[in-house]
Symmetry: C2
Subunit: 169 residues, 2 copies
Amino acid sequence: MSTPLSTETEKNSLIITMLISSWEMQNKRLAELITKLSDEELLSETSPGKNTGVYLLGHIIAASDGMFAIMGLQDKMYPALEDIFLRTPDKSGKTFPAIDTLKEYFHTVTNSLNTYFKKMSVVEWLSKHNSVSAEDFAKEPHRNKLNILISRTNHLASHLGQMLYLEKK
Amino acid sequence: MSTPLSTETEKNSLIITMLISSWEMQNKRLAELITKLSDEELLSETSPGKNTGVYLLGHIIAASDGMFAIMGLQDKMYPALEDIFLRTPDKSGKTFPAIDTLKEYFHTVTNSLNTYFKKMSVVEWLSKHNSVSAEDFAKEPHRNKLNILISRTNHLASHLGQMLYLEKK
C-alpha cells in the first residue's frame, strides 16, 4: 500500500506529470480522430441539430488558445477564433477557416502549450491564473493554473466524446 | 505569481482536493441531467445508431462501481452491472434494470465513493491500484489510485458530453 516516492516534492511533481499526461492523451485522441475523418464527416453534425465536427474542432482550439492568456504564458496565437467559436454558436453564418487550416492550428496550439507545460514548476502550476484577483486567490488557492489544466481536460474529453459520433459505423 | 501555500504537504492536499472536486462536478452534472430527462428521453439514442441514454447511464455506474475494487476500498455494490454495461454493447437484448433503479444505483455508488475519497490520505492516493503488480508499480509510480480518479473523471466527462444530446432543444 505504500508509495515508492520519498519526498513530498516528488509526490507533487508526479501528480503534475500525471495531469499533463492526461491532457496530452485527450489531445492525442483528438489528433488521431481528425486524421481519420474525411472533410465531409467533419462538416456533418455530431447528432441531428447539434454542433458540427468542424465547429467543435474550432471551439476546442479556441479554448486551448485561451489557456496561453489565462495562464500568463504568451498572447493568443489565433485570437480571431474566439469570436467565431467561443462567442458565437454553430451555424451562425460566420465563415470558418478551412478544415486544413484548423487542423494546423490545432497542432500548433497543442504543441506550444505542451512545451510550456513541461517546463513549469510546481510553484508555477499552483500560482494564480489571470481570471482571479489576488484577494480572491488568497482565500481560494484552488483557483490556480493547474485547475485550468484539469477543467480544460474535462472540457476536451466531453467534446471529444461528441466528435467520436462523426466516425462511420 | 507565488502560491499562498507554505508546505509541500499542503500543496499535495490541495491538488487532491481539486481532483476530487473535478470528479464531483462531473457527477453533479450527470445527476442534474438525469433528474431533468424523461424516461423516454433516457431510452432514446444519443445520436442515430449510437448508445442510448440508459445504456450510458448503466455504463457509467458500472465503471464507477469498479473503482471500489480497483482502489481496494470494498466489494462492488452492483456486480451484475458489469456484464450488462461493460462487457456487452447496447442493444444486445440483455434486460436492463428499471430506470428508477439505475438512478438510485448511481446516487448510492457516487455517494459511497465520495465518502471514501474524502478520508483518503495523500499516501493512500499515491499507492498502487489493484490492476498493477508491485514490480511494475515500482517502475511506474503513476499507476496509482489518483490516476484512476483522473482517468475515470475524463471517461465520465466524455459520456456526459454524449448524454447532453438527449436534452430537447
